[in-house]
Symmetry: C2
Subunit: 192 residues, 2 copies
Amino acid sequence: MPKLGMEPIRRDALIKATIAEIAQTGALEVTVSRIARRAGMSSALAHHYFGSKDAMFLAAMRHVLSVYGAEVRGALAAADGPQARVQALIRASFTPTSFRREVIAAWLNFYVLAQTRADAARLLGVYQRRLVSNLGHALRPVAGARARPLAEGVAAMIDGVYLREALGAGEPDGRAAARMVEDWLAAQLRTA
Amino acid sequence: MPKLGMEPIRRDALIKATIAEIAQTGALEVTVSRIARRAGMSSALAHHYFGSKDAMFLAAMRHVLSVYGAEVRGALAAADGPQARVQALIRASFTPTSFRREVIAAWLNFYVLAQTRADAARLLGVYQRRLVSNLGHALRPVAGARARPLAEGVAAMIDGVYLREALGAGEPDGRAAARMVEDWLAAQLRTA
DNA sequence: CTTTGTTGATTGACCAGTCAATAAACAATC
DNA sequence: GATTGTTTATTGACTGGTCAATCAACAAAG
């Protein structure tokens, strides 16, 4: 039965199962056994590949963050000019890939984890600062000295819209969410 | 040793200890024993008064939400005129009472809890809708038909600023946070 | 002596992590 | 191409510990 080269497949399955399990049962009740069962293997194998439950959490976080990071880079590469770059950054946070119940739930749990776990906080901080930095640079040609505070406002707005969608009843609407942030930013830019 | 009339005192101590413990150790590792010890009693007594761990969580949530609700009502009562009411609503979310690391941490954990626990979601939903509703009514005289979408934007902004402060390194600065939301709203109102 | 407050001890369940054992795939040697 | 050994994949069974919840018993106050 055992086939070689299973490691990457198993790791991937476990990471996805971890995210799914966290989203479904909440971080309070996730167990290695449940994750492993969802990923179609024994809990012993999960330990074999990740060593500990904590390591699995961290790996899952890194996965979510790297997917998001890739999306941002892709959108930036395709953007032409300052306005387009700002728009790309905002919309990248609300693409169908990232803006799904499951992924949103993962982000929420990562926020909570980052409150007490230093490594999680560090990981999250990197991405948060990068977003503000990216926004700041993109806004510089348009807003000059106001670029930095504006970038922080946009970042806050993105997070806030994220939250409300995560907790709202209906299906998350990425297009509407992005438009909201863009509208608010546009109004800011129109005021001297 | 036993003194009569201890129930309200014990309940209060347990609720506060629950919040403190969640903030300190994170929702993943809270145990009834730790909470009870922090509140100065045995775990058996904690069960005696609340019946279950879940009930303690819910009671703690209700406490945080009721404190916040009282603050909002107080601010609204003292406000005169539409602008003052909007300002009061925004600032009430960032008073020193509510805008402390510990309370922020509690809110974050409640958000996560609300993803999987129906009663928590219901409780949170009531307060979220009330905030948007309050903001909408206060904005009506100033913004007319735009009041509702503006209210949703302000609410999102409040949540977002909350989040970023909760995860930032420095001490939360409520005054600056409130000013930021007010500035963004002012810019929105200045555009037809 | 009943009500209220309080705890130590106990229980039953569960969980993270370990380990020994098995089985396939691969590789080298004869 | 048969033999032998090595690596990788995989699991069932086990362990040490912890936790939520229960209970019996005790102490004060009315």
